[in-house]
Subunit: 222 residues, 2 copies
């Protein structure tokens, strides 16, 4: 396997990120590439969810992953070891990605040949929600050990996401986590948010998540 | 019990946060108040650790807690219900606290009568590490479900903390978490970082953490 590609991102030159994001989104629409922006707290299971998803989607879509981190390459390497096309983006200390930083990553992928690109954003429930990356859809993961009160504390994250994935459902017996309460709090922030309950570890719910993704990719291309 | 105090923080007027933080630290030193800045990812157990700690320290020190959040008052209420003096700081969307925001909170507490104030920072492994709050010491919590690779991904957090608390050790059997590996990664970032392993839920390690705190408070006052 060739050397892992690590992109050192530069700060954006565009003052108006919203307009730049709209431009990127239009470009990706033209290329029929669905960009999904995946956000969560550190340790919610973004990478393991993507690994499970990539296994489920194999042969269904042409997929690549951009792993954004402040430092380290562990996630991109894990993807590569599992045979998923992936690159590592280093933010140089920045706590989020905007549209131009996302574009810098996309340039390193041949998006014209891809149906689905997932941007695994920096693990952070605050800042990434403030910046439109140009993605077609935003998804957040809340894992059982984090507690069901998170939508109360990080409102913008839930307002900007179309899908909430509740992960690590296999450890539900060991934590005081109320799934219904989590969903209720999330819908207080965003009444339209869809919810899928999974365990990236056991595979529970992964087919349902794959189905949701395929539906989005299909709608994006019509 | 009287009404919970909620402080809506204003953005700082000081351009040089480092100097402002040094000034606040000197003031607190004069008042013999030890300020501890507690940082972690969302859901690592900051509040439950502080609740267990407050029980352990009862009668030993005069303690108060400042709960910083973007929104919600659940943490400050939990503290108050447990009889711990606490106020809620709202950051107005900001992802971190700096020294001046910390000072705005401290003004609402009678610090001259307090030995120990804990600032529970916004749940975020990135931004809070970049801003000196004026605290005497910084502490971070890494919980078992988050995974032992976090020190690799969030270097600055580990560089700026004097104490790493590994929490939720009671669920170790259900996760692929290697305590030795976590400590090794943390010490790659900061060779001097002290480590205490706890379960805020079962109380394991809480006396050791309380002992560490008491030692710091004593050293601060001599």
């Amino acid at each position: 396997m060739d050397e892992l590609k690590i992109i050192e991102l530069k700060e954006s030159v565009f003052a108006d990120n919203d307009r730049d994001a709209a431009r990127l989104r239009a470009q990706l629409k033209g290329e029929k590439t669905f960009l999904l922006n995946l956000m969560s707290a550190p340790g919610s299971g973004k990478t393991s969810t993507l690994l499970a998803l990539a296994r489920e989607l194999r042969g269904e879509v042409r997929m690549a992953v951009m792993e954004a981190d402040i430092d380290a390459t562990v996630d991109a390497r894990a993807m590569r070891n599992a045979g998923v096309e992936s690159i590592q983006l280093h933010t140089g200390g920045m706590c989020h990605l905007d549209a131009d930083m996302t574009r810098q990553g996309l340039r390193e992928l041949d998006t014209a040949d891809l149906d689905l690109v997932v941007l695994e954003n920096v693990g952070n429930l605050v800042c990434p929600a403030e910046f439109d990356t140009g993605a077609a859809k935003n998804m957040t993961i809340l894992s059982v050990p984090e507690g069901h009160d998170k939508p109360l504390k990080y409102p913008l994250m839930y307002e900007t996401c179309q899908l909430l994935v509740i992960n690590k459902i296999d450890v539900l017996p060991y934590f005081d986590f109320d799934v219904d309460q989590a969903v209720e709090y999330a819908r207080m922030r965003n009444p339209d948010i869809e919810v899928i309950v999974i365990s990236a570890k056991t595979g529970e719910g992964i087919p349902k998540l794959a189905e949701w993704i395929l539906k989005q990719v299909k709608e994006w291309n019509t």
